[in-house]
């Protein structure tokens, strides 16, 4: 037999319990889990992705990107712009001369990171970006995008280690393939030479 | 404290003047909603006159009943009947000059009566204070019969109003 007002009483008890427990319960079991943003920071999650950046191995000169343009085509918001560098003879030098990403347009989807065959573009953890002017202020040129491999290892240790092993293995395989047959003329190694 | 006395008396005359102005507003304003608001203001003024005449309980009842209920009723009626079209409609009919003359005559007659007759004002009456307890006893004592008749009448009015105002929708089968 439903006593009149019993549901009302139960409802009030729920909110009262919630009110009281919010004072002493710890965040993960029912307490208040709000993070006071500027003072406290959320603990870093490795796969948190924000604007892309380019990786270089030792010196900014040895950039991994070969300006193949796959990410430029794949980017849904078309915010990447690449121009191939031409060496003295006018042949493409497999290096990007100009590599612009418009952070204003980029929606942090991470497509460029997935499609990049040369592990050269990854998503960063830096999200507090401001610029004085909206249209042109947020366009990042190549030198602003370049970051060292150590930084990449620091922010995404697991992924970075996997990629480094892969690159080292490719390195050994290439060196092994190149070393044992010093005799055959260098012409056969032409097509794989660019796979670095 | 003669100054306070004199200031209070002046205040009462001022309130009376304000009430008369609001009353004129009730009668002459074109927009009926403004009339109802002037009526509310006039009634609150009259409640303050009751306080001056040491009938506080009645002032409270007056505000509660008149301003709280009757004026709200009038405003409900205005809202339901006044279509918002701002068509300027002649508010008063043609007999207004005739009515004014008749009223002036009526006022002159009653005015002279008021001023001329020596009212039996007794200082004892001025001093007597009506307590709420006294009112209750009188209502329950000497005036208990009209009190009951009024309650029956109010119930009759309640039922009557609902029946008249109810939209007579055809009885759903």
């Amino acid at each position: 037999m439903t006593v009149f007002g019993w549901g009302v009483f139960k409802g009030m008890m729920v909110t009262l319990k919630n009110f009281l427990t919010s004072y002493y319960r710890k965040p993960d079991e029912g307490g208040i889990f709000t993070v006071q943003y500027p003072e406290e920071r959320e603990k870093k999650i490795e796969n948190f992705r924000n604007f892309p950046f380019l990786v270089y191995d030792e010196t900014p000169g040895k950039i991994r990107c070969v300006a193949c343009g796959i990410c430029e085509r794949e980017c849904p918001t078309k915010c990447i712009h690449i121009e191939m560098e031409l060496d003295a003879t006018g042949k493409p030098a497999r290096k990007p001369a100009v590599f612009d990403i418009d952070y204003g347009l980029c929606m942090n989807c991470g497509m460029c990171e997935e499609v990049c065959p040369f592990d050269s573009i990854f998503m960063d953890h830096v999200f507090e970006i401001t610029a004085p002017e909206r249209q042109t202020g947020l366009v990042r040129h190549k030198d602003a995008l370049l970051k060292a491999n150590e930084y990449f290892q620091k922010i995404r240790p697991t992924l970075a280690s996997v990629i480094d092993q892969k690159r080292k293995a490719a390195e050994e395989k290439k060196k092994a393939a190149a070393a044992p047959q010093p005799v055959p003329p260098p012409s056969t190694g032409g097509p794989t030479q660019g796979a670095v | 404290m003669p100054i306070l006395e004199m200031a209070a008396k002046f205040g009462v005359y001022a309130v009376m003047g304000v009430i008369l102005i609001f009353a004129l507003g009730v009668v002459t304003l074109r927009n009926l909603f403004h009339c109802a608001l002037c009526l509310a203001a006039a009634l609150i003024g009259i409640a303050s006159i009751y306080v001056v005449l040491q009938a506080e309980y009645l002032a409270g009842v007056q505000i509660l009943l008149y301003v709280g209920a009757v004026v709200t009723l009038v405003i409900f009626a205005i809202m339901l009947t006044e279509h918002l079209a701002g068509k300027t409609v002649r508010q008063n009919n043609s007999q207004s000059p005739l009515a004014i003359m008749a009223l002036l005559g009526f006022m002159a007659l009653i005015g002279t009566v008021i001023v001329k007759t020596p009212w039996p004002v007794t200082p004892a009456a001025l001093a007597s204070k009506v307590s709420v307890m006294g009112l209750g006893k009188a209502l329950m004592g000497a005036y208990v019969f009209p009190f009951e008749v009024i309650s029956i009448l109010l119930i009759a009015v309640l039922v009557g109003t609902v029946i008249i105002a109810k939209k007579d929708t055809p009885e759903r089968s």
């Binding site: 009149f4 009302v8 409802g11 009030m12 729920v14 909110t15 009262l16 919630n18 009110f19 919010s22 004072y23 029912g30 307490g31 208040i32 889990f33 709000t34 006071q36 | 404290m1 100054i3 306070l4 927009n31 909603f33 403004h34 608001l37 509310a40 609150i44 506080e56 309980y57 002032a59 409270g60 009842v61 505000i63 509660l64 301003v67 709280g68 209920a69 004026v71 709200t72 405003i75 409900f76 809202m79 918002l84 307590s131 709420v132």
Partner: protein, 394 residues
């Protein structure tokens, strides 16, 4: 030499405000004529109330947002000031600086008058509230009637506000608010009658004094009719100041903001202030009538008064954190078909309570209350339409 005003007041924490006022008056007495002193004491009380009202309103808004936050597992505002204490001031500045938009074909005068006319009764009610021993601003012997009459005036400015802004939503909101406030005013007035009957007077001070007793068991809430009266009065109080779960008229989801849709800036702040001050005074009167006003064992009287009122306001906020909104017909049905008969029966109970002995009185009054509640619930069984069957199958 104690100045004449101060004689007869014992100096302890309880009388701190009374002595403060008397001391100020004794200071003024040196260079003011006698009759001006009377005005001075009126002015002092007036200034105190005029400051008390808005400050209470500001910190009620903060309290509400803090408690609601805690109920919903988040902090309330804590950015402006130490624990968000300066938040009301920030809100106030925001309200002042906001642009004051008046709709094009609105009725200018009435649009301007409405917020003013709604704040005046909200402030006037403070006169009658007994803040502590000998701390009622004006000791009217028709205190309670004054309170009910003044709080019944608030229906008018709501009409003015909704009619003047020439907007369908505000007109609908205004009509609903007026209907709700009228239908909840009657049970509220009748819920007050038992307290008046038992204390033989309308003045709030004597009502509090009539609840004096050892161990404070003489509060009216510790009697069967007191409990019922308190619950009904408190429900009607929440409905009277349009607070959830009775806040249909200004329900954001349905009527944008009810009657104060077309108001912004300072005028909206006045509407907002009037609502919160009404909430405070209604809780104060509920505490005075049923919880023994400033009665309390050790603490000074005004501390007891503010504690009880604070407790009741927290319950109102608690309601807001818990309950969904009433539907219009349930809202009206609840007032007319449930609360009104209950209060009438409550008055009968108090009458019988006065003449019978204590123990037996408890027994049969609970009996009567139980039976009447049961019948009322049965009578109010909500009309359940017969199950609708769809031709195409469900």
């Amino acid at each position: 030499m104690i100045p004449p005003m101060l004689r007869g007041i014992e100096f302890n924490v309880d009388m701190i405000f009374v002595t403060a006022k008397a001391w100020i008056l004794s200071l003024l007495a040196q260079f003011l004529p006698a009759w001006l002193l009377v005005l001075a004491s009126i002015v002092i009380s007036g200034v105190v109330i005029l400051c008390l009202g808005p400050v209470i309103m500001m910190y009620l808004t903060l309290l509400e947002r803090k408690l609601l936050g805690r109920i919903q597992n988040r902090y309330g505002p804590n950015r402006v000031g130490k624990w968000g204490l300066l938040q009301p001031i920030a809100d106030g500045i925001k309200m002042f600086t906001k642009e004051d938009i008046v709709p094009a074909n609105a009725d200018k005068i009435v649009h301007l008058l409405a917020p003013i006319v709604i704040v005046v009764p909200a402030l006037m009610v403070f006169l009658v509230v007994p803040f502590g021993e000998r701390m009622t601003a004006v000791n009217l012997n028709i205190g309670l009637l004054f309170f009910i009459a003044v709080s019944s005036i608030t229906i008018l400015p709501i009409f003015m506000g909704s009619w003047a802004s020439r907007n369908k939503y505000s007109l609908l909101g205004g009509m609903r608010t007026a209907a709700q406030m009228i239908s909840y005013e009657i049970p509220m007035t009748l819920a007050v009658v038992p307290a008046i009957m038992m204390s033989q007077s309308l003045s709030t001070n004597t009502i509090v004094l009539s609840q004096v007793g050892d161990y404070d068991l003489h509060w009216y809430i510790f009697t069967p009719w007191g409990i019922v009266g308190f619950i009904v009065f408190f429900l009607c109080a929440t409905a009277e100041c349009n607070r959830p779960p009775f806040d249909l008229p200004e329900a954001e989801s349905e009527l944008v903001a009810g009657f104060h849709t077309e108001y912004s800036g300072m005028k909206f702040a006045l509407f907002y202030m009037a609502e919160y001050m009404n909430a405070f005074t209604l809780c104060a009167i509920a505490a005075t009538l049923f919880l023994g006003g400033w009665q309390g064992p050790f603490l000074p009287s005004w501390l007891w008064f503010f504690g009880k009122t604070f407790l009741l306001i927290c319950v109102m906020i608690w309601f807001r954190g818990t309950f969904p909104r009433f539907r219009v017909d349930h809202l009206m049905g609840f007032a007319w078909k449930f609360l009104l008969p209950l209060t009438l029966l409550n008055i009968l109970l108090t009458a019988l309570w006065q003449f019978t002995s204590n123990l037996a009185a408890w027994f049969w009054s609970i009996l009567i209350l139980g039976i009447s509640l049961w019948t009322l619930v049965k009578l109010n069984r909500t009309f359940v339409p017969e199950k609708r069957h769809y031709p195409m199958g469900n």
